[in-house]
């Protein structure tokens, strides 16, 4: 007992600190970095400088286009109801700033300045200027994390617009992705546009992804094409978050394919 008490008096504090540090960081891990990310967002807002002239104009232009888009969507909805086309439920898109990038080298992610408080949910589709960017993977009250298309772990069902050749897209580092085609002799040529396919569990069909840069028909086991993503992912400053109509199926299947 005496030895224990002596040991405790010399090492008790140290042990306590160790346990405290481990449990504190474990909480950060289990909450997906919520306290750190909320603090980051708060500081980032405080440091946000006065936007330059060009930025103001660009933001205004984006907002104008967005309201036009909403108008067009509204009309589309009405026309669809007139011809009894299966309706999409009223969707509200969210314009969100990119406030951070991936926190490690293995995952390609971006951090957005809106979160669950603004109505963003896990599985929402994120698009930037030019096309699809990725999918929301984690949310905190005022930030959300997006797994980018260029991440090697993200796989998306894709289709060549011109010929409807099908395949799945797998990210590569940078602004490139590989399209693995299902057909042995696919009808595809450089310059073709690629969009999400209706077979995708995770994304709605018909969102623009990129263009075909080169094709390797001899690739085993399936022919592959190199796709250049249209959205300049490494330079994005603003993105648009769409609620995902396929969220229910995505949750059931858990992943692509």
């Amino acid at each position: 007992m005496y030895t224990f008490r002596r040991w405790w008096s010399t090492n008790g504090l140290r042990l306590g600190l160790m346990v405290a540090a481990l449990s504190l960081t474990w909480v950060v891990r289990q909450t997906n970095g919520l306290p750190v990310l909320e603090l980051y967002r708060w500081i980032q807002q405080a440091f946000q400088g006065i936007p330059s002239n060009a930025e103001v104009l660009e933001t205004a232009r984006i907002q104008e286009l967005q309201s036009q888009l909403q108008e067009v969507q509204q009309q589309n909805q009405q026309l669809r109801s007139l011809v009894d086309y299966p309706a999409l439920d009223g969707q509200q898109t969210i314009l969100s700033p990119v406030i951070g990038r991936s926190t490690d080298q293995w995952w390609h992610q971006i951090l957005l300045g809106h979160g669950s408080r603004d109505g963003i949910e896990v599985g929402d589709v994120v698009a930037g200027t030019g096309g699809l960017v990725g999918r929301v993977s984690h949310v905190t009250p005022s930030t959300s994390r997006v797994l980018l298309l260029s991440d090697p772990a993200s796989q998306v069902g894709a289709t060549v617009s011109r010929s409807r050749a099908m395949g799945y897209l797998r990210g590569q580092a940078g602004n490139l992705a590989t399209l693995v085609l299902f057909d042995k002799v696919p009808d595809i040529k450089p310059g073709d546009a690629v969009t999400t396919s209706h077979l995708s569990h995770l994304f709605p069909a018909g969102i623009s992804i990129g263009t075909v840069r080169s094709i390797d028909l001899d690739k085993s086991p399936a022919p592959e094409a190199l796709i250049e993503l249209t959205a300049p992912i490494s330079r994005l400053e603003w993105v648009v978050v769409h609620p995902n109509p396929k969220r229910a199926t995505a949750e059931l299947s858990g992943g692509e394919e």
């Binding site: 481990l22 504190l24 960081t25 970095g33 750190v36 990038r101 926190t103 080298q105 940078g174 490494s234």
Partner: protein
């Protein structure tokens, strides 16, 4: 610093340490000019772990590695864990016994960070490979080769950037801990 009583001094020491960890976590997602290479930034958590481990026991260093790894797990993806690689880096750094063999300067710290960055990224690549092997789907074998190709690029860019930025974390922290030790 001298006039404060030991309890307060200890509390301030802890506070500074925690604040420095928080700072590392907060600059992880930020990107400013000069910080990016091939789309990746320096591994600030690793730099902190190396700075901490240089003059501490392997146990303390390993625990620090685990803690920082958990924080990084929370900020990116938890599977596979970053904690394993960072704990290994901490233990290895502590085992180097730098005071005895290597002179204390920025160059040697940068060298250690360079080597440890390679250790950390290799641990990650091994974990990814094990995941794919366990999954054992025919599609996972191409992923295996890609992981190791990707690993070369990541390990090199991370090692270069982290070692170049190491003094930014190491210098002030080392100064502080030396001051704290001197007053005890």
């Amino acid at each position: 610093m001298d006039r404060l009583n030991p309890g307060v001094r200890h509390a301030i020491d802890c506070l500074v340490t925690v604040a420095s960890v928080l700072l590392c976590a907060l600059i992880l997602p930020a990107r400013f000019s000069g910080i990016e290479l091939l789309g990746t930034g320096p591994n600030w958590c690793l730099i902190w772990v190396v700075a901490w481990s240089l003059k501490r026991t392997p146990l303390q260093s390993g625990l620090a590695g685990l803690c920082l790894g958990f924080v990084q797990d929370g900020l990116s993806m938890a599977q596979p864990s970053h904690a394993l690689g960072l704990a290994l880096a901490g233990v290895l750094t502590a085992r180097l016994q730098k005071q005895r063999y290597i002179q204390e300067d920025f160059i040697s710290v940068a060298m250690i960070v360079f080597a440890m960055a390679v250790v950390v990224e290799t641990t990650m690549a091994i974990q990814f490979s094990l995941q794919y092997l366990v999954a054992a789907a025919p599609k996972s074998y191409p992923l295996l080769t890609r992981t190791w190709l990707y690993h070369q690029q990541i390990a090199l860019s991370s090692a270069i950037l982290s070692s170049l930025w190491a003094p930014v974390i190491y210098y002030p922290l080392n100064r502080w801990w030396r001051l704290a030790q001197a007053t005890e």
